[in-house]
Amino acid sequence: MISHELSVRPAITADAEPLARIWVETIETLGRLDPRFRAAPAGAERWRTAFVAGLADRDRLTVVALRGEVLSGYLIGAAQPNLPGLLPPQIGVVLDLAVDSHGRGGGVGTEMFRLLSAWLRTRGIDRVEVRVAARNPIAQAFWRALGATEFYDTLGLKLHD
């Protein structure tokens, strides 16, 4: 019998190729919600390179989720200094989160965030910031369910038509 049990673990280099496909799918979905999201030429290749480089960063944790043996999502988080002069001195940030379209709504994102939270707590960090597209109510609802509250609106001002 094929197992579909959900598990999460830190990412490894070999995950880059299958996860790049999830990244592409996610950007295409975001682009349909908001045309301002457009991947650059060779964007997936650049994402793979950045993903692998990030695995060596000790201030970053990349978590992957699997359904059985199949990768179904990733979450990239980091510990970073807060803005100069502001407290707390260190905060956690979610840099990227994507879940395969077939795996959404099954607790995949929550389980990945649970692992990231535990890692941040070991570093004495108790605040996490995440950016969500204004036109992506599903992602906003996901983060609200985890206790997130709106903090800043990022506004855009177009100078040329």
Partner: protein, 166 residues
Amino acid sequence: MTDSLIIRPAVVADELAIARLWSYLMAELVRLDARQPRPTPGAERVYAARVVSTLDDPDTRVLIAESSGHVCGFILGAQIGQSDLFQPIHTGFIADLYVESGARRSGMGRALVEALRTWFVERGIERIALNVDSANTAGIAFWAAQGAHNSQIKMQIELDSSRGAP
């Protein structure tokens, strides 16, 4: 708009005034939203020194609003890089804008934005991004009147909260 209003590039001698205005800005933000991070003691001097240190940076622009010889507001903008994962768009960022409470509703904020917008346009900037505290309804309304639209929401999770953070 106030007749005596002058919008000009900041100079080193504005450092104390910038520190004063930034401390007012931080105090207002904390009053508005208790989640706002508190400045550390003396942070306003550190901030102003950093701002002044950028005055020779060609990618940064600091403008001062002065009325009857008194510095009442400032705006800080910069050209920023962009992730190579996305289609390039020349982007500017407005890091801070502040006008003293007594000088508001006089067109000073709009004049600061217009002057900075001109600088951005001259540099080929296509889009400006900026952050506004979600609780700052007056600020959001101000930016909407300048033509800004909501692009992203920055959310915050307290890991020790009882609201369900895992």
